[in-house]
């Protein structure tokens, strides 16, 4: 029987709990703010025998990902966690993990990159990893961080996916806030995640294989990349199936993109991560005033749910995309490009504007969201035209 427990704790500890319940075999991990409390909790689980896993205290994130790749190729379930500079240090290996089709699950506590030094939330780290071939999930709340982490294992290890997955939560805002969430009982969580059955394990002595082959000039590198591309494209349907199965167990339905008020929205904001809640909070108030405000939250960023986004936004009169990272020198932030290009194939043009907000944890005040909706109202009414990317709330 499925039993759930309502718990008050931080997002990080909910993630650690999901990791424990997923029964990983190897956990190579290096602490970095704001992911540290995940590592502390896992180390505690390991020390107290609450987790039957090899906890490897490595000397850097580069080593953490190296060990994760080695252990995953050996044929076991591997999970790690990082943030910010740590994710940046893993960069070259992120491509190796996905290229070798290793279903590693990694939690990232989304945090700004230096310089100047900053430990607070933005999406610069994770957006820097968006083309690494990993699947990327965003959480709005601690509950979503917990749920996303459990489904990540199933998605990564699905025989038609076999790709690494990053499950993320906004640094401090989600990772360190004490929040209310429901956790599944261990038995249910374990039954859902299931056993990992590797297809090409290095430590399968009866079926020896080689990993890490060369596919250089004239070799099939290009074909391997296409194979990888098809796997990530095809994963969207599989993710939806796995989410549906999880939702039936947990009673918490969710989707790869989630609309609020999008059925008849005139003005819509596209957003990822914790700010989705702030935006919905404002949209509710505006609805009460008769303004048809909508919110489109992207929960699965890789693979990018293009069709769902296009479908949700096609009726809007004006759309704003909120980016918590920038692509300096480009037209705007990364989410903006992708949303805008998703809308390109519509028969009519939906005006889209871009705001870069909340860099380095800069607080997302209610008044800022209200200002975005006001701008959208003005664009929708024709009072003003679309404008260039704006740094929202920057002095």
């Amino acid at each position: 029987m499925v039993t759930q427990k309502t718990v008050a704790t931080t997002g990080n500890l909910f993630v650690a709990e999901a990791i424990r319940q997923a029964l990983p075999d190897v956990i190579p991990v290096y602490p970095i703010t704001p992911q540290t409390t995940v590592v502390e909790e896992i180390a505690k689980f390991a020390a107290n025998g609450r987790i039957d896993a090899e906890y490897v205290a490595v000397e850097s994130e580069h080593s953490a990902m190296s060990a994760a790749i080695g252990a995953s190729a050996a044929g076991v379930r591997v999970v790690t966690a990082t943030a910010s500079q740590g994710l940046a240090l893993m960069w070259e290996e992120l491509y190796i993990a996905s290229g070798m089709r290793l279903p590693i699950v990694m939690f990232n506590a989304n945090r700004a990159l230096s310089a100047p030094i900053n430990i607070h939330c933005d999406h610069s780290d994770i957006m820097g990893a968006r083309d690494t071939g990993w699947l990327i999930l965003f959480a709005e709340t601690a509950q979503e961080a917990y749920d996303n982490t459990l489904v990540s294992f199933r998605i990564a290890e699905h025989p038609d996916v076999l790709l690494p997955v990053m499950t993320t939560a906004d640094g401090f805002i989600t990772t360190h806030t004490v929040d209310r969430a429901d956790t599944l009982d261990d038995e249910t969580a374990r039954a859902f995640v299931g056993k990992y059955k590797p297809t090409h394990a290095l430590l399968d002595f009866d079926n020896p294989v080689s990993h890490g082959a060369f596919a250089g000039l004239g070799g099939p590198y290009f074909e391997f990349k296409q194979q990888q591309r098809r796997a990530i494209d095809g994963s969207l349907g599989i993710i939806k199936e796995i989410i549906a199965e999880y939702s039936a167990i947990s009673g918490r339905p969710f989707d790869v993109v989630e609309g609020w008020g999008m059925e008849d929205a005139d003005v819509a904001i596209v957003v990822i991560g914790s700010t989705a809640g702030n935006v919905r909070h404002v949209a509710r108030r505006l609805r009460a005033q008769g303004i048809k405000a909508g919110v489109l939250k992207i929960r699965v960023f890789r693979p990018f749910p293009t069709a769902g986004i296009r479908d949700a936004l096609k009726g809007a009169k004006a759309v704003a995309v909120l980016d918590r990272s920038d692509s300096p020198g480009a037209e705007g932030g990364p989410l903006y490009f992708e949303v805008k290009s998703a809308l390109y194939d519509l028969d009519h043009r939906v005006p889209v504007v871009n705001y870069v907000y909340g860099l380095g944890g800069s607080d997302v005040r209610t008044e800022l969201i209200e200002r975005v909706y006001k701008d959208l109202g003005d664009i929708a009414s024709g009072a003003i035209g679309p404008f260039d990317m704006t740094y929202l709330g920057c002095r």
């Binding site: 089709r101 090409h200 020896p208 294989v209 990993h211 082959a213 074909e223 194979q227």
Partner: protein, 131 residues
């Protein structure tokens, strides 16, 4: 089982194993991989003391030993690194060691131009089967 890659050059993306895994162990014995050898080891049987150091040091298992004695080299797999020649001890009686590197290099067609079947350059050495 033998992994059949005879049509590897026309395989589409879906025909390759996931993640460039090679699902057959030790299959390098099937392929001549000595294409870039520029010098080959040559052994003077008379001066050889059968110390087996060459066999122990060879990184490619290309020193052929039968009944506990070195009988020659596997030139399909020897890369010509010369480690055997360096490790081979001086035989006092002859005043020289038994193995020396001599010119002669590769037995394979010169890579870089592709073979008659249109195999891409570079891949030729890796995939042509010897039996």
């Amino acid at each position: 089982m033998k992994w059949d890659i005879s049509r590897v050059n026309v395989w589409g993306a879906e025909e390759f194993p996931h993640g460039a895994v090679i699902p057959e162990a030790g299959n390098s014995v099937y392929y001549k991989v000595s294409g870039w050898r520029s010098q080959r080891p040559c052994r003077d049987e008379e001066a050889c003391t059968q110390c087996l150091l060459c066999w122990a040091y060879c990184p490619d298992s290309s020193v052929v030993v039968k009944n506990g004695e070195v009988v020659g080299f596997d030139y399909d797999h020897c890369k010509g690194c010369g480690i055997c020649a360096v490790e081979c001890p001086v035989n006092r009686k002859f005043g020289r060691s038994a193995i020396e590197m001599v010119s002669g290099g590769s037995d394979l067609p010169e890579p870089g131009l592709g073979d008659a079947n249109g195999t891409p350059a570079g891949a030729a050495a890796a995939i042509s089967e010897v039996g």
